[in-house]
Structures are given as C-alpha cells and as structure tokens.
Symmetry: C2
Subunit: 348 residues, 2 copies
DNA sequence: TTGTAAGCGTTATCAC
DNA sequence: GTGATAACGCTTACAA
C-alpha cells in the first residue's frame, strides 16, 4: 500500500472486494451494478451482490469506469461571468435537465477573456467532459472551432455563432423587441429613441433587427439622432447614451427603447438628472427582466426571458446530442414574455 | 479499435504515441509533461518531447491520470439554489482561488431538498472529487457527517454547523447586525422592531444574537410585540411580519431591522400599504446588499457581505486542506460593510 | 537521466 | 448466466 492509497483510497472497497465476498467474478458484479446489464444476471445473484455491496459500503469509481468507457457523465458550461444574473437561471435549467440522467456540470468562469475561455476548454477536455455548453459564443468564435476540432458535442446558449455550425438555444430576441416596440406604438408613441447594444453579439444584432422591423411595420422612420449604440450594456453606458439623446434638443423622443434593463436604469437616471420624469415626460423600456426590475422606481416595463427554460432545453439538446451525435443541427428559439409595468405611459 | 474508441477516442494521441515518435519511453514523456518531474529530464529531451507532443496535438487525459493518482483536480460545490443571488459571487470567488492551481468546480444544485444534497454528494464522490464546499450546512447536518465519513476534505461556506467539525468561512453576521443596530441607535431610534430569520441556520442565529447584543449594549429592551420570526426570509414573509408588527398599534416602532433585504423589501411594501412612508414614518434596514438594493425606492440601508471574498477564502482554505489534511480546523469570519443609503431617517 | 513494469478500478469481448 | 482476460492512459517505485 503506497502513499497515495493511504491518503484517501485506503480501505475503499472496490468491485473485486464485492466479488470476492459474494463468491462471484468481478464482471458479474459490474453487470449487476450497471442498469443496462443487470437484467442478464439471475435474480438471486443480483440480490446477493447488491446486498453485499451495500453491506461493504461499496462506492462506484466513476473515474475508473470513465477511463474504460470513455465517458464521464460530466458536461462543461462556460460563461463570461457567473455573477451576471442571466447565467444562474440558465445553469439551473441545464442542471435540471441533465440531472435526470445523472449528469453533472463542470463550471468555467471565463471573465470575458478569450484566452481564459480557451484555457477552460482545455482543462475540461483534459477531464474528458462528454460535451460542453457555451454561453460565450461570439458571431465568429475560435472556441467554437476548437470544440468542432475536438468533435466535442457542443451547444451554444443565449448567444450563437453567425453560421449554424453547432446547436443552439436562444431567446427570441428579435421577437421580444418587436413586441415591445408594438406596445409603445399602441400606447401612442411615435418619436421612439433606441439605445442598441454591441453589434458583435447575436443578441445585440437580433434586438436591433427586431426594433427596425417593428418600426417599419408601424410605418415609422427612426430619427438617427435618437439612435445610439453602447459598447457595454451597462448602467453607465445607458446613462451616457440617454444623456446624449436628450442633449439633441427638440423634438425629444417620447420613449427610449433600451437594449437591456441596465441600460434602461441608466437612461432613467439620466432623464431624472435632466429634470424629466419617467414615465411622466419620457417612457423607458428595458429588456431581460432582471431580478427586482419590478421593484425599481418606476417598475420597469421590459421583456422577460425564460432563462431557466432556455437552460432546460439546452440540457435536453445536449442529452440528444450525446445519444446521437449525427442528428441535425438546429437553432431553437424560446419565446420571451412582454412584462408590462409602469415605466411606459400612454400618450394621447 | 472498438465502438467506444471510434465514437470520440479515435485518433486521440496518447503519451505512448508521443514516446514512440520521440524515441523515448512513455515514462520519460510523462515526466516531461509533469511540472514536478520535468526538471529531472535533460533539456534536449524535454524540448524534443514538448515539440513532438505539440506537433502531434497531444492532450493529456486527466481521467487516466486521476485513476492512477487518485486525484481529479476537481472540487464539488453544493448549494440550495444557484439562482439565489448570494451564491454566484461565492462561486466566482471559489473559482478564482482554485483556478490558479488548475482546479475546477463541479456544481450541485440541491433545491432545498436534503435527499437531493445526499444524492449530489454521492455523484460527486463517485467522480472522485478532491474536496467539497458546502453552502447548505445546517446547524447539525447529516451531509457533513457523510463528508467526514468519506474523509473528504470539506469546507462549509456562509452557513456552518454548530460544532466546529469542519473548516468554514462565513460572513460575520453578528457583527454586521450589531453595526446596523448601532447605526439606528445613533440616528436616535429607540423603539426598534426586528424581523428575525429562521433559527435553524447559523446565519439566522448569528444575526439575532448580534441584534440582542447591540440592544443590550445600548441599554435598550426589545419590545416583544415588535420581534417577529420568519420561516423563509422572503418578500412575502417580510410583508406579513411587518404587517403584524404595525397591527400591534401604538406605540409603533420607528425602525424595523430586518434579517435580510428581501424581508426588508416586503416590510417596505407593508408599510406603504398601511399608509406609512419609509423612511419618513418608519425606517427600515436590510442585510445582504442584493444587486440593485441601491436602486430600490427608497435605496436600502443594509449590510454588504463580501461574498466573492468569502468564496475566495473558501477556495484558499480548500487548497490548504488539500495539501495538508491535518491542519487545524477553523472558522474564518469575513467582516461585512455597513452600506448607508436612504431607508433610515434620523429622528430628533 | 532514463527505462522497466506494475497497477489504479472498471467494463467489453469472448468463451463456456 | 457467468467467468476469464485484456485494455482504457497514465504515473511511479525500482532498476540501471
């Protein structure tokens, strides 16, 4: 018995111990303990082995099994920042779906650094994950190519690469944006400002596309002085962008449609600072429905993404991929829900 | 070559392939590729092997190594609900600390079900995690005993068992509560109500203890009609508890000190509903400093827990435990920060 | 400094 | 229905 064994392996009972105690061969024990093969063993032996295994306190060693079967029952999940509130519900949904099949999630927090993403993928690949979920996919993403190279079952979630080279599950961003524009139009708004997000991400693009589509449909032409882009969709950026729009002077927009809730919060603050009341003077909409969005002042009218459902479907898709890697590649869009609160006023 | 190999193992280059190509033995390659042993190999060989490994696209197989070394470089993290905003920053901190050493986190979302916690631990143990972080520890917790049984390096975070049987890193809950009570006392409040949390958790207990201590120190005796307990620290429970306090009639408390922010939000809503302005008529304090707490109406005066730092120290402690399982067991308390905003008024 | 050989715990394959 | 055997890819005494 060497040092390693003493450290923690000592006394650990293994399949061969159970076999010895039960007077059967190790392969028999293995078959008893495996859902797929225990049907081929006689009931009496099954009972005896199970009982003895329990009695001995046998715990399966998934890493040994994994070495043999080339499958670890573990899926990687790479995010920019787990502290960003959009990820936890997705993660929860993924776990919910995978957990049913006994799979577990190995987390990787990349912190917006592409090299970190690559490093994490490397570490996960070394651990022989069965598949990986990417919440970081850019429109064209070397990490996605890497996954393809490894022929690693991969699903993109929330964001997706421009070319449909991998499966993905996303919020229907364009739809949500169309619906919220339709809403403000139906409330009588005509001069509609828009603060758009980064165009390097599928979400930013889809939302802008949805905005444009809804404007056209309503026969409205966006005033270019009232269209702004932010590099990072943050409170600060929203504040600055909204400030710039208001500084353009008359005619002022009656509503600012924002790419997300944080930008909307920034915009509300900017309005307030310049003496405009929201929604009295200017209405503002968000997107995402972050926690507590309904408790802000004013409660934010926004688009609720069903993130946990998105995560759940991602997990399901991963499961499908794992059992049949040749199935067709698809993009799944989950319909968001318009969430009406008080930050949009009707105008006459 | 069997089916499994074809599935994904096919073409994977292994240490023996590198060895063959480099004209050395596999053990030499192994030594070159391991940080601890590559110093023992001649520089020329190191260079050649490294180059060839790279050229062949060699990727280490951590599961094979793990089987041999009995160590997976993976740490489990079990939480109640990853969607509860206190966990992501902790997770981030843990990852930050562990990542430096190349370790990764395997997540387990238990959903408040003790059986689920046990099941997750089982799955993690099967995967031979090197250690586990428990964010779910109750005062007396069978799961903790289980970890001890497995002699699995274990660290409790945020909550901790009553007996110091395992290492833990927690917020200094009592201190934060004392400070916030000191604050309201210094603002002139004397009739101080308190909505306390569940007493089955170390956090709930510590906060109540802090409240009592600060009251005594100030020479104040809590009015028992103004002391309430909630089973779940939620907005709804806070609403109900605050409502009950207000229904007690005169004399009304001038401030309600709440066990956490959600309860405080519920309390604010309850006050408003009964026609009391916060902080005009009644001041209210929270605890936790959840995201956007500063954007509520009114912005919440609360206690900010340095959760990421707590997570980081948890990771560090795990690392220490992993390199020396015999070190002394300790409780580490991280000092929170009083966060003054507008939900507490000075009274004359 | 490098090679030899055994072994980590499991399961797949083949035989009976 | 069960047993024997080899193999998964790596690390590590021990030997040279």
């Amino acid at each position: 018995m060497n040092k390693l064994q003493r450290d923690r392996g000592a006394g650990r009972v293994k399949i061969s111990d159970v076999a010895k105690a039960a007077g059967v061969h190790t392969s028999t024990v293995s078959r008893v303990l495996n859902a797929k093969t225990f049907g081929r063993i006689s009931p009496e032996v099954v009972d005896r082995v199970v009982e003895i295994a329990r009695g001995l306190g046998y715990r399966p060693n998934a890493v040994a099994a994994g070495l043999r079967t080339n499958s670890t029952g573990t899926v990687g999940f790479i995010v920019h920042d787990i502290d960003d509130p959009i990820y936890p519900p997705i993660l929860k949904g993924i776990e919910e779906a995978l957990g049913e099949s006994g799979l577990m999630v190995l987390l990787g927090n990349a912190g917006y650094a592409p090299e970190a993403e690559a490093e994490l993928l490397e570490r996960m690949a070394a651990r022989r994950i069965d598949g990986v979920v990417l919440a970081t996919a850019r429109l064209r993403d070397p990490l996605v190519d890497r996954c393809l190279d490894y022929s690693l079952p991969t699903v993109a979630v929330v964001r997706r690469p421009e070319l449909t080279v991998i499966n993905s599950v996303v919020n229907d961003c364009a739809l949500g944006m169309r619906e919220i524009v339709d809403l403000v139009v139906s409330y009588g708004h005509r001069d509609i400002a828009h603060i758009a997000g980064p165009q390097g991400l599928s979400t930013g693009r889809a939302r802008l596309r949805g905005f444009s589509a809804a404007m056209s449909k309503a026969g409205l032409v966006p005033d270019l002085r009232h269209l702004r882009f932010v590099d990072q969709p943050t409170i600060e950026a929203g504040h600055a962008a909204a400030g710039a729009i208001l500084d353009e002077g008359e005619p002022r927009p009656s509503v600012i449609v924002c790419v997300n809730d944080l930008v909307a919060i920034g915009a509300i603050n900017a309005c307030r600072k310049k003496g405009f009341d929201c929604p009295g003077d200017i209405s503002i909409t968000g997107y995402n429905d972050i926690p507590l969005a309904g408790l802000l002042n004013p409660p934010l009218t926004t688009v609720h993404m069903r993130l946990q459902e998105i995560g759940r479907r991602t997990g399901l898709r991963m499961l499908a991929l794992l059992s049949d890697n040749n199935s067709e590649i698809a993009v799944e869009r989950v319909r968001p829900e318009l969430t009406l609160r008080q930050s949009v006023a009707r105008i006459s």
